[in-house]
Symmetry: C2
Subunit: 391 residues, 2 copies
């Protein structure tokens, strides 16, 4: 930034007080750097809180999930982690028992009703390190559309996120489509924000590791038009008092495929369609692929709630369900992918489902990772799943 501009900003900068609201703030940066990623990949957290008696940092970069911060001579609380692996991490502070975010870090994500800060640790030596996948790089970028479509079955307008790969606007080509579904409490923003799907796709397509594809991320909550704050419900508490729906999400799903095939340049054929989801979205992927055995050649169940409560859905061991699963596999999908973490509370359910598949020799690819029911795993599963599609 040149000096004239700096001076202009300095003159009109508002302070971190009530004055901020009287004029547009043009400065107001925090007076500490936090988080600071150090040369050895340790990370230093800082918080200016002179009157606090106790400050914790909590997050998935800390061995026990939390650490006590120490006040330094200049009233700044501070903690430095051990060197970290390349990854996207999330954290909060707890100041005198009150959970808060880091005022020095504007990068945040919302997960249902929780807001936390994020940072990414890269790895210059390994381009395929997880953290590197999640960074915005100087590569051709796809576009991200927030579109509304009419659902006759649901009797409502519904919002979804659509990623089109770099070059879509000018190539004139048709593309395969991945339908990518979120979990309980999530929405049409979840995969692009918490899941870093846009960055993962941009980077893997640019590196030639994934085929250029359209990725469709609808809202999987049957009764909701859109994410919290984006629907006519207004700025309500997320995921509270969900309206009843006229049909299940699985029953509604063919309308989405129809909309996408009508409005985007798709390859509208089984071999060019994939469906995958996490948790509830894994349950949706199970159900939708089973109900539409000629639609998807690739199915991904990430930590899947194969049998979800609260939806009109046949029991997994029901004769009709088994028959439908057999029909699906008789049509030889190119990939049926099941991934789950060793500590995931849905492991017993997934074991039960795999036993059913094994009972009639259905072929599937099974990935068992470390960890539990967490976004870190779902991002990794997506990264592992994408290169297997549309080959």
């Amino acid at each position: 930034m040149n000096k004239t501009l700096c001076t202009a900003i300095a003159i009109i900068a508002a302070s971190l007080t009530a004055e901020s609201y009287a004029q547009q703030a043009l400065g107001s940066h925090a007076n500490v750097a936090s988080p600071e990623i150090n040369a050895d990949k340790s990370v230093t957290f800082r918080l200016l809180a002179p009157q606090a008696k106790s400050v914790l940092v909590i997050g998935d970069c800390l061995e026990n999930g939390y650490a006590q911060m120490t006040m330094t001579a200049d009233s700044v609380w501070q903690f430095t982690t051990a060197p970290l692996q390349s990854e996207l991490y999330m954290y909060n502070y707890v100041v005198d028992g009150m959970k808060t975010t880091d005022p020095a870090n504007v990068y945040q994500n919302r997960d249902i009703a929780n807001i936390f800060n994020i940072f990414i640790v890269g790895d210059a030596a390994d381009s395929k390190a997880s953290g590197n996948r999640y960074m915005v790089k100087d590569v051709p970028h796809g576009s991200v559309h927030k579109v509304w479509y009419d659902s006759k079955k649901m009797g409502m307008h519904r919002r979804m996120t659509v990623y089109t790969p770099a070059g879509y606007e000018t190539s004139g080509q048709n593309y395969p489509v991945l339908y990518l579904l979120h979990g309980m409490g999530g929405d049409e923003n979840a995969w692009s924000e918490l899941g870093r799907a846009v960055q993962i796709l941009d980077n893997m397509i640019a590196a030639g590791e994934a085929e250029p594809m359209i990725v469709v991320m609808p809202n999987g909550n049957a009764g909701l038009e859109a994410a919290p704050g984006e629907s006519s419900l207004g700025m309500v508490q997320p995921f509270v008092n969900l309206p009843e729906a006229k049909a299940s999400f699985a029953e509604h799903f063919p309308e989405i495929v129809e909309y996408v095939d009508n409005n985007y340049r798709t390859k509208a054929e089984k071999k060019s369609r994939a469906i995958a989801g996490l948790s509830m979205g894994g349950g949706h992927s199970f159900e939708i692929s089973k109900n539409n055995p000629d639609t998807f050649d690739y199915v991904g169940l990430f930590s899947a709630a194969v049998r979800m409560p609260g939806e009109k859905r046949a029991d997994m061991k029901d004769a009709k369900t088994i028959e439908d699963i057999k029909t699906l596999f008789a049509k030889q999908p190119k990939l049926y992918y099941i991934a789950i973490g060793k500590d995931d509370f849905l492991m017993p359910l997934n074991n039960e489902y795999r036993a059913i598949l094994d009972s009639f020799g259905a072929p599937y690819l099974y990935i068992e990772s470390d960890g539990g029911h967490i976004w870190r795993n779902w991002r990794n599963y997506l990264t592992d799943f994408l290169p297997r599609l549309f080959k």
Copy 2:
């Protein structure tokens, strides 16, 4: 939400502690309601902070910009405002001297490096009340695209936000275009987030108050690819160490018009193009309309920094500049709109510019509002400007 689902959530809900990071959080709602909009349109703020010694709420809904909150018997700090006019409001808490957000309210905006909570007070009796304009309603919604385009002049990929009106995907029609520019420290997300431009457009088009139009919101920082966190600079402090650019934003601008006319169904003609912006974006609108007198029939300067520091730009009183302004007005643009608040620090500059226009009888519409250099004014100016376009 049905009972089975509630139970499922209750079972797997994570608490507001470090445990949140071990499994996906499915609950974790704050245990207070805040902000609560009361029947008389007063608003009650609450914060659970048992150990705090002093809590302030600061924001533009408070008479002096702040209020001291009072601790109630159950350790909840509380404050209720006077009844409020219909509007979008912003606030923060200051807990023992540390500025923070309201953990019970997931609705936030970022303005450069500041994150604050927002809420909207509606008005059932007046559909045109400001707050009602900013709410998501059950009307046909436009789509919002985050697209990247190549700039040869800048030698970089650049990101912009494009709004297409409801029905664009299927109508086959061509639409007029409004180019809508942000201020210093803003980015391609500013008008759609802080400015509520998407809701304003959706609601005014649905009510027949504005023509269906495409709205293009580029990034006006010449050296930047995209908003903070969305560019290959990574998750840097917003608006610090801006890279130098190869050309000014105004010099680059014709590339944006060319991209939009090539990639969207536009009416590619002067009478179907408008350009408007706030502060620095008002300066850009002044400059770009002057340099391209055959391109825009509608020009809006909102609290405009008519002469901005730090850009290669002729002085306003320069003979060439005056000549260019005269040329622009000789071509009789349908609307030249200047709006500014009585308390705006750019008032002297705007007076100076209007004196120049008056010196040769250039026709313009002048709106002088209350208030200063704030988003509340810019949203109002947009709402006032839109019905005047493309008639």
